[in-house]
Symmetry: D2
Subunit: 347 residues, 4 copies
């Protein structure tokens, strides 16, 4: 099995998720990068857009139109929200598997999508095919699917921080607060006031209060996992760093529980998940930078009777490209960790 080489395409070369996919796939033992697409840079070498790949990945960029002729096994869609759905629709009967890194198929239905994304969905049938690609929750479903909806970065960190509590039904359903902090790459490669160096550097602020789209993604997954109506308070903040998300999650126990019991829940829940590391000390975003790990640290404050869980991921890896490859590994029946065991880069 491990000798097979999947023929892979990356659709959308210019963004950070495109270059991160390349960074991992280029060394993946079971992958051949067959094509990388860009509509605006067709013909240029990939390394022109991302000079760090010079001499390593100089593949000329092509249009996504020619994708049918390549005998592909897997297509990664590294495209903006709203663009991805068109390609998924167009390719719905093709032979290749798809991992969609956009938000287009993460929610439960077109109705919920329209409510939170404030626009119509052009391919409502896609929701039936798509599996939410969080391997720690949906491993078996992912293995059998042809379209994985890769989770959002904040939802990845948030759901992983809370899943053991929700699954085991040990917290009050309206007590969850997730105070999350992310590096700027979450806002994408396109220049804007938001990403101007002097607006980010030496600065820190909250954004998207009360209405960030990832709120509903987190709620839907937790509701489904816990079998109850959970309301989540989700507040994202912008860190002056390139990469990394740290989520500080708060929840009130529904009945008496000890810190040891809480920690045991986490160890048990994630016992078979190679990228989850339950920590015994406070995690930091640099401990996972560049890697597919999610470090989690759950504690109980007896004084206030509140559980606090801190989780950290690299938003571009476990929160995007790495998790997408994890999904591909599952869909293609490869070892889960294949091509993904690079160590965090620190300092």
């Amino acid at each position: 099995m491990s000798d097979k080489k999947l023929k892979v395409a990356i659709v959308g070369a210019s963004g950070y998720t495109g270059s991160e996919l390349a960074r991992f796939l280029i060394h993946h033992p079971n992958v051949e990068i067959k094509m990388i697409t860009s509509e605006s840079h067709t013909g240029k070498p990939f390394s022109d857009l991302h000079p760090q790949f010079l001499k390593q990945l100089d593949l000329p960029l092509t249009s996504a139109d020619s994708i049918a002729n390549e005998g592909l096994d897997v297509v990664f869609l590294a495209l903006p929200h709203g663009v991805s759905m068109k390609f998924v629709q167009q390719w719905k009967d093709k032979d290749f598997m798809m991992v969609d890194l956009s938000g287009d198929f993460r929610l439960s239905s077109p109705v919920v999508y329209t409510k939170w994304y404030e626009k119509d969905h052009s391919f409502p049938e896609g929701f039936k095919k798509a599996v939410y690609g969080l391997p720690e929750l949906h491993k078996e479903a992912i293995k059998g699917c042809r379209l994985a909806a890769n989770p959002g970065c904040y939802p990845t960190a948030s759901i992983l921080a809370l899943a053991p509590l929700v699954k085991n039904n040990v917290i009050l359903h309206d007590s969850i607060i997730i105070d999350a902090k992310s590096g700027i790459t979450g806002a994408g490669i396109k220049p804007s006031n938001t990403s101007h160096f002097s607006n980010v550097n030496e600065n820190f602020q909250a954004y998207g209060l009360k209405r960030h789209r990832h709120t509903i993604e987190i709620e839907e997954q937790l509701n489904s996992l816990g079998g109850m109506e959970i309301t989540v308070q989700f507040t994202p903040h912008l860190l002056p760093v390139d990469r990394g998300i740290l989520a500080t999650a708060y929840a009130t126990p529904s009945s008496s529980i000890s810190e040891e019991e809480v920690q045991e829940l986490y160890k048990t829940f994630y016992a078979n998940d190679p990228f989850i590391r339950i920590k015994e000390s406070l995690p930091s975003i640099k401990d996972v930078r560049g890697s597919n790990f999610c470090d989690i640290y759950p504690v109980l404050d007896e004084r206030t009777n509140r559980i606090i869980v801190i989780s950290v991921i690299d938003n571009l890896v476990k929160g995007a490209a790495g998790q997408a490859i994890h999904n591909m590994n599952l869909m293609a029946e490869l070892p889960e960790t294949s091509g993904l065991l690079f160590n965090p880069i620190k300092p």
Copy 2:
């Protein structure tokens, strides 16, 4: 009145609060910096320790022992916790006023001090003389005192974020969560693993979970203000920036309230406070950097029925040196804003 020149000493030259005091006092229209002390650098010009002051403040450093001979009006103690109390005791009968920037006299009693600072207090009587120097809460008491205990940086941002809610008794007493984030200068000028560039840069982490000393300082002030037993969940985090604290505070309303009503509470409560700016958009730490302002943004999330308040300060100014000078202004019957109206430095 405004022609008088207070003779002022800064005790403790080597740290950040010492140099920030100098940065403001040097331009204060009613202040003459008479002496700056350092036991380990006696004789050196102040600008040797802080080269940014070259040609502006080359005053030779002296020992604190000679402080009695200078005819001083005000002494700022910019010293570590545990050291300050010895000097306060030693100088308790002197003619000068004291503003203590350490944590030695911020709490209500030696008993509480010992519980949270985990050591005995060598001058328990000091607690009776000290007034908690948060001008927005205790303006009149500060005016009449001789010893102001300058608040901690996190408590300043946290209490100011919550005071109008607590004072007006509109939130549940056990619902407060303060998720706070601070720049590294809060950890002081002394090199350590914590402050090593490569441990801070491109990094982010929580610390002091469940047991940070500022928790009790916040609780005591809110309890006193609200006349009830409030328990606060306080979680500090370390930002990869020099300066700035952003506190994201969450609380559940005790009865129905609208966002407009919440915001009105803030405007009313702080109507006479020149350094508080109630914002109508999200604040950022760079909006107050280098200044004595505290920007506050309160909202209500109707979906979750939760109030979220975001406050930002410069931890070295409103959270330390600036507030200390504000206290001096009040104690010496000078205009509140005297010497403190410098604008934030941005970018």
Copy 3:
């Protein structure tokens, strides 16, 4: 004299130099900010564009068209290159003095301008009126002028680093290399790939090799000062910081000279310049941040027979807004340092 209040306008509110001018002018004892202009934000308060000024400078922005009606004494043009010249031409017969912060009148002639800026100049006569506003070189000429061409940021740091050597004719005319490094604010407030956080943060690169426009500005000033044909190798680099320029200048002595003699040249040359600090140890950009100081450290390497001079400035202050106010002070016969003696902000 010191009681007079100059009526001042800032033309161009939206950029960094506009907000830095405001930061200093708001506290200048002899200035009243009468108007701030912006063609694209007319009617908005200045603090809408720069929220750090909330409650301090909420003046509504106006169009530059109405400038004639305000009885102004001084107009600062904080505009892009090429735009400024049109206003200077339009206002050439007005009563107010002008300080132009753009590059439009810094060079010796329209011919040189066109060669290095690669476009025609629309107001060639302006060159005759304009005085190059580097006070340390042209104090008397500035005092008598009505139009000061405020120097570029790199030229300020570079010329000040080399002037004593050139003036005293102690170096070989073709031996000068200036390896300069600047913070990103030099590239302006407008979002671009250059200023995207993730392209600057944790990064460093050279740019403008061989052809940066500041090269000719430096050469012309040094030639004029030394009375000879000097060729300068100028290489700018982009630092991952907001503010600050450090120039490392190299030159070969034309005859034997000692380090002490070199340093003496600097002390003598700048004896009457309040913003120049000749250092006896290595300077850093944070030692001058936010201030109008230029720190200079000259040494001689006997082993290689080469003089090395390091100079540091804040590009937005001594390299722009602060120097512009210094020019205004001279033109209006105010004390040189009026409104400019704020201390560097560090850390």
Copy 4:
């Protein structure tokens, strides 16, 4: 050949070069990490010191004393200058190969060592055995050696920037200026004023003017390569980043040469060197971050008749751990790039 597994030890676990060696060696197809030593942390798992390795490299640390019993093939000495020489002496007759990452055997003789390092060398005979481990210059000698002296970080960037010019004898021997800039990890993991976050962040400064030890290392290598007496002006600066060196090198051609000819020299000289990338645009340190690449960009300024060469490396990889593994690959007759072709991490 490629199936063999070298038994490898890392001596000195606590520093950055130790953890970087581990980051690469853990994935090296021909390496088994047999032991990692630390005298002060014996018994602890390696991941206690470097938590990013949790679950990936939890090997207990041992004392270097037991090194003889492990049947080792290769020992990496990741130790401070002055400490390394003692171990090299002690193990001089052992069967394993050694790569010394300290400066102890980089220079030509104990006399030169003592002059620039200002202390005696305790193992002078070592200089005869050691080969300077810069593969691009000494590939064949490294293949045959048992002790490689891994080059300094600045010398790696500097020598690679200049070698083609010196080897081809096209520049004046006293015209070389290297203005170099490095991230803070070059100063090591130990907390100090130099590495305090607030002294580095938003700051920039030169250091070690006229006397930095890497000067002689660069000069000796260039002299040996060019067969003449070359004097180098070397000025290091400290960048507010974790990783990366950019060297801007200046030299005057000894006779007429075109830019194309200059660039051709570089392409020819490095034609067989897999980690050298001759660029056609300006390189940046983030283009090589985390990787073993050295990007080089040579130009000629016809106006000033000067060659400018810009080179970038990751100081911890090509400037330390990566180059050390490259040396191991050569010494052990493995493919040069084995285990080293990871892509730069950007952003």
